[in-house]
Symmetry: C2
Subunit: 334 residues, 2 copies
DNA sequence: ATAATTCATGTAAGTGCTTTCACAAAAGCA
DNA sequence: TGCTTTTGTGAAAGCACTTACATGAATTAT
């Protein structure tokens, strides 16, 4: 009973013992065929589930909708957590999730140019990727419903956080804990595509310190690539200095954990000898007991997906820019 | 402007004064076309509201350019790491990655019934899901190329590890390190769908201990749900006992980290007072310095995707059952 | 200045299925 | 025995695209 592939007109012909021409005639000029053969052919058609246009059949079978997610390298845990949130709600609503990993700005542009015209997606979620007004325009004009995460645009739905405020929160928290000398650790490489919120967090941190009458001096700023091992090694140098800061805000959890390990390597007690505060709240942070500023990553994906589905259900809904809160999570390191 | 029928690639070509080949290139390899002509073509496309027919495209290409992945909960890190490996190679080969989160056996069946007929995928990767001969039959008969990860089937390609051997390796490693009393921590809940390799790892562990003349007594076996916090809490009870085992093999890294935290909570030195060895080598393991048995999760996804692509390129290739090795990774906890 | 190369583009040959065509064979009715 | 009517046959054309190869222009190297 299981046919190799979809039944074609040839299968129907064979099954009903006539030629393909006759089958075609049954479908197109029925009156040119005897009542009798027409009946046999029609039952064969029914039995095989033959649909003349393969295209129509494919559409019929694809009952579910399809949502695409454009994401930069899926290696970073923060994207995974966002994706996880989105996947959760999409799967609940029976949507397929198509992932496009964007590895260069060329790829990004290619996607943004062709995806909207291909009409193969019902909606699109874009994670942390920078793009132009033309692209926004193009998405809108082709009616591809879109939600941006982390990179806002006036004419499109977005989920955002306030990185500057996050930096300030970090400063306030550490100040209020009684620390008086501060350090910062963050990423250096500014990507050609994608987004770099680190600078904003740093700016906010500086601001927050200034408001409390402190400042961050240049030698207490550690710039290091977004990589655990690198931050561990460079962190070791940084922490070895006798005049090292007492409290360090790291713009990402990954780097914070690198620092934490460096501290452990040096036998420094955390937080009594150095306090470390991260940013993001990756799963990882909980696992190692890192105090951090939570940006609700899973939630951002969840909210993005929900917003998208809501707009698909009712396209007249107005554009929304949803701001997610940041929360200080106190664990063991600050 | 009256749309008699849908515009085709010919209409776009005529409207923008190029050949259909160029239009096709704009859509498929944009970089092969001058910025300038690309712009004219794109505006023509926009103006006419041209939508390329996916069906015709698939026909000409003899492929949809899409690979599906069936996975249980996207929440567990091990699946994410597998996915990451697969995503990496698929995106390199310009394939779209469609994710189907399978939350119940009903859903699994539904997918396995419709996906092969819908002809909307070139290939399928199935992660850690149990399925029947009928399903295998169905996939094969519809010519949907499939690779299984973690659940082997005679007639389909698969990527496997030897969980029993892994358990033995764990035992051997700990024995050779000089420990003489052993414990085990693992998952209890056997899912109705999905797979449960934990029992195998335990069996292997027992076997390995026996070979060295040791045994695992019942009160040194901790059964606890797959959850960090739960293993931490129950781990605390377990480790508090004065007759606790000196070396513990945890069947998953997540639970191992739970134990590790429990040990830290109790002020126990690791590994000098209690040694902990995990299994999986999640990213997490490196972050917390957990010694563990690496099962090359990323690699499994990568290999699965490569195998799939190889079979798509040359369907005459024989079925393969690839066994990935397990490696003991010594870090700081055992 | 000339040869060599790269490059954008067009031509035309595919792709798998369906429809149409001209014509022949068979069957049905005088 | 003829003359319709109904089928079968194989070939060809269409559909809406992709792509290998060819071409000629532009750019670079010599």
């Amino acid at each position: 009973m299981s046919n190799k592939t979809l039944p074609t007109i040839y299968d129907v012909a064979r099954a009903s013992g006539v030629s393909i021409a006759t089958v075609s005639r049954v479908l197109n000029d029925p009156h040119k065929v005897t009542e009798e053969t027409r009946a046999t052919v029609l039952t064969a058609i029914d039995r095989l589930g033959f649909v003349p246009k393969a295209e129509a059949r494919a559409r019929a079978l694809r009952s579910t909708g399809r949502i695409g997610v454009l994401t930069p390298f899926f290696t970073a845990q923060s994207f995974v957590q966002r994706l996880r949130g989105a996947a959760e709600v999409l799967s609940k609503h029976n949507y397929e999730l198509v992932i496009y990993t964007v590895s260069s700005s060329v790829r990004l542009n290619a996607y943004l140019e062709t995806l909207p015209i291909a009409h193969t997606l019902d909606g699109l979620i874009i994670l942390s990727l920078q793009f132009s007004d033309q692209h926004a325009e193009r998405l809108a004009s082709h009616g591809l419903e879109t939600v941006l995460v982390e990179y806002p645009h006036l004419t499109l739905n977005s989920i955002e956080i306030d990185d500057v405020a996050g930096g300030r929160q970090a400063a306030q928290y550490l100040v209020q804990k009684g620390y008086t000398s501060f350090g910062f650790a963050g990423d250096t490489t500014v990507p050609e595509f994608g987004i770099h919120p680190i600078t904003l967090r740093l700016a906010g941190f500086r601001q927050g310190l200034a408001e409390a009458g402190f400042e961050l001096c240049a030698e207490n700023t550690l710039l290091v690539p977004y990589d655990m091992e690198a931050s561990r090694l460079q962190g070791r140098q940084f922490l070895q200095r006798s005049d090292r800061p007492r409290a360090i805000f790291s713009a990402t959890d990954l780097q914070a954990v690198g620092l934490l390990r460096a501290a452990r390597d040096l036998g420094l007690k955390v937080p009594s000898e150095v306090a470390i505060l991260g940013f993001d709240d990756l799963d990882l942070a909980e696992h190692v007991g890192l105090s951090t500023i939570r940006q609700h990553l899973d939630e951002s994906g969840r909210v993005a997906a929900e917003l998208l589905l809501a707009r698909l259900a009712d396209p007249s809904r107005p554009i929304q820019h949803i701001h997610l809160p940041l929360t200080v999570i106190t664990r063991e390191t600050a």
